[in-house]
Amino acid sequence: MSAPALLAARGLSLRYGAIAALDGVAIDLWPGEVLAVVGESGSGKTSLLNVLSGRLRPDAGVVWYRDPTGALHDVHAMAAPALRLLHRSDWGFVHQDPRANLRMGVSAGGNIGERLMAAGARHYGAIRAEAGAWLERVEIDPARIDDLPRVFSGGMLQRLQVARTLVTHPRLVFMDEPTGGLDVSVQARLLDLIRRLVARYAIAVVLVTHDLAVARLLAQRIVVMRGGAVVETGLTDQVLEDPQHPYTQLLVSSVLQA
C-alpha cells in the first residue's frame, strides 16, 4: 500500500508469567480500514487490543500512531494527558459490555453529549441537537433522549455506546466483541449499523471477535491469532475462503453451517 499507515505495531510481546499473550506481533492499519482480529479465547486478541490502544504496556515492541497532521507518535511513550486526549477525541473504544462505557445514571442524551462536552462544547442546544441526531443514526427513537440507559434493551445499549463513541468523529475505533452477548437478530442489525456508520465516516476499526461471520461482514482484512502469535493475515475473503494455516482451516471448518 502506498498511503501511510494510521496505526502500526512492530514486535509486540507481552507475557503473563509463563504464558505468552503476545509473541512478536506486527500489525498495520490504514485509514478507513476495518481490521478483524480473530482467534479462540486466550489467543491474545484482547491483550493485543489493549496494547494497541495504549491501555496496556507491552514487554517489548512499539505502537506508532499517525495523527491528522501526519506526525508519528509512539503510543506507549506519550504522556498520560496526551494519550487521554487522544482517547476522547481521535480514538474511540467500544466495549463488549456497554455498561462499562456508559453512565447508567445519566440520560441517553447526556451519555452522548459527554464526549462533546469533554471536547469543549458549551452550547446546550447544539449538544442536544447533536445527541438527537446520533440517536437517530443508531436507530433509537430521538424521543427517548431523556431516558436512562437502564430502561434500554441490550441491543439499544450497545447502539447507544456506538453513538457515544462516534459522536466526536474519531478516526480510529477499537471494538472488543461488540456483538457479544446479543441474540442473533439483534446482532445482525447492530453489524449492519456499524458497517454503515464506519463506511460513512471513513473510520478505521480494529475489531476483536471470535465470530468469523462478524469478521466476514465487517472487515476488509483479517488477522488470525493463536497462542499470542499471528498465524495468518490477509484479505478477509481470501483468508476465509482459502485458509492456508492449519489452525485457520480448523477455525473455518468449525463454523456451523445454518
Binding site: R88, S107, G109, G110, E114, M117, H123, Y124, G125, I127
Partner: protein, 277 residues
C-alpha cells in the same frame, strides 16, 4: 488565657498550615492537603475554617464570625468566643471593621476590601465527589483539567428540569484552570467570588484540604452559552430593612402559614435598619 498558645494551635501546626495556605494561594483553586488537627469542636462545625483562622490571626486583628450570614447563631458565637478567649483578639459583628472574617455558608453583602481576609468553612472540598467515587481518579481529572463530567451534571439538570438545579455549592472555575467548590454558599453569592479584592481561604478540617482564591482572581460559575448562570434570589424585600438586593431567609412566624423574608446577613440588615433605610 493561661495554658494555651496564642489562638489555641501550637506554633509548629500554624507554620504547617501557613505553608499549605501559601501553596494554595500560589495555585488558585487547587486543593492542598494539610495535617488537620483535632479541634475542640465537632467535624462539620468548622474545624477547617477555625484552623485556618488560628494560623493567620495576629494580635492586632479584628475577627468577625458568621454562620449563614448571621453573627448571633450558635456556631458564630462559640467560634468568636473561642478566639476571644484563646487569642484575646478584638471581635466585632461589623463587616467593615473586621480584618479576618470566618464564614459558614455566606459571603457578606458589604463589599470586602484588600485589607480583609475571608475564611470559609468547607464540609466537602471536592466538587467532583458526587460524580466520581474514586479520589485517585478525581485528582487525575483535576490534574488533566478533564471537567466534562461536571457539565454532564448541568446538562442533565437542564434536560430534566429546564434549568440548572444547584442552589448552593455551585461549582466554579478558578483562574480558568481548577474546578472548585465555593463551599455551600448560595449560588446567589457566586458572582461575589469573581475579582474579589479580599483574599479568600477555604479550610476543610475533616477532609484535610486547604485551597484559596487570591485577590482579584477570575472566578466563573459553570454554565452553557445558551443557559447562562443565573443567581437565584427570593422574589421579596426584607421585612426589617426593606433591602431588595440582598439574599433573603424565609422565616416561619406561626403555624398558620405566616412567613416573612429577612436578610440573611444580620450586620447588613441592622446597618440599613439603623440608618433608617
Amino acid at each position: 488565657m493561661n495554658g494555651y498558645n496564642f489562638a489555641y494551635l501550637d506554633e509548629q501546626t500554624k507554620r504547617m498550615i501557613r505553608r499549605a495556605i501559601l501553596k494554595a494561594v500560589a495555585i488558585p483553586g487547587h486543593q492542598v492537603p494539610f495535617g488537620s488537627r483535632e479541634m475542640p469542636l465537632p467535624y462539620g462545625w468548622g474545624t477547617g475554617g477555625i484552623q485556618v483562622t488560628a494560623s493567620i490571626l495576629g494580635a492586632n486583628d479584628v475577627l468577625k464570625v458568621i454562620d449563614q450570614g448571621a453573627d448571633d447563631t450558635t456556631n458564630a458565637v462559640s467560634i468568636r468566643r473561642f478566639f476571644a478567649a484563646t487569642a484575646g483578639v478584638r471581635t466585632t459583628t461589623r463587616t467593615a471593621e473586621a480584618s479576618v472574617i470566618q464564614t459558614r455558608h455566606r459571603i457578606p453583602e458589604t463589599k470586602l476590601t484588600e485589607r480583609q481576609i475571608l475564611v470559609y468553612q468547607v464540609p466537602q472540598p471536592e466538587p467532583l465527589y458526587r460524580l466520581e467515587p474514586s479520589r485517585t481518579e478525581s485528582r487525575r481529572m483535576h490534574g488533566l483539567a478533564e471537567y466534562g463530567a461536571m457539565h454532564v451534571k448541568l446538562y442533565e439538570d437542564i434536560s430534566r428540569l429546564g434549568q440548572v438545579a444547584i442552589s448552593y455549592d455551585y461549582p466554579v472555575m478558578v483562574n480558568g484552570r481548577y474546578l472548585t467548590s465555593p463551599s455551600p454558599i448560595p449560588a446567589f453569592d457566586n458572582p461575589k467570588l469573581h475579582l474579589m479584592p479580599a483574599l479568600q481561604l477555604f479550610g476543610a478540617g475533616r477532609e484535610k484540604r486547604i485551597y484559596a482564591i487570591p485577590p482579584y482572581t477570575d472566578v466563573r460559575s459553570l454554565d452553557f452559552e445558551d443557559h447562562p448562570f443565573r443567581p437565584h434570589r427570593a422574589r421579596a424585600v426584607c421585612a426589617i430593612c426593606g433591602a431588595d438586593q440582598s439574599y433573603l431567609d424565609e422565616v416561619l412566624t406561626d403555624d398558620r402559614g405566616g412567613r416573612m423574608f429577612v436578610c440573611s446577613d444580620t450586620d447588613y440588615c441592622a446597618g440599613r435598619a439603623g440608618a433608617g433605610a
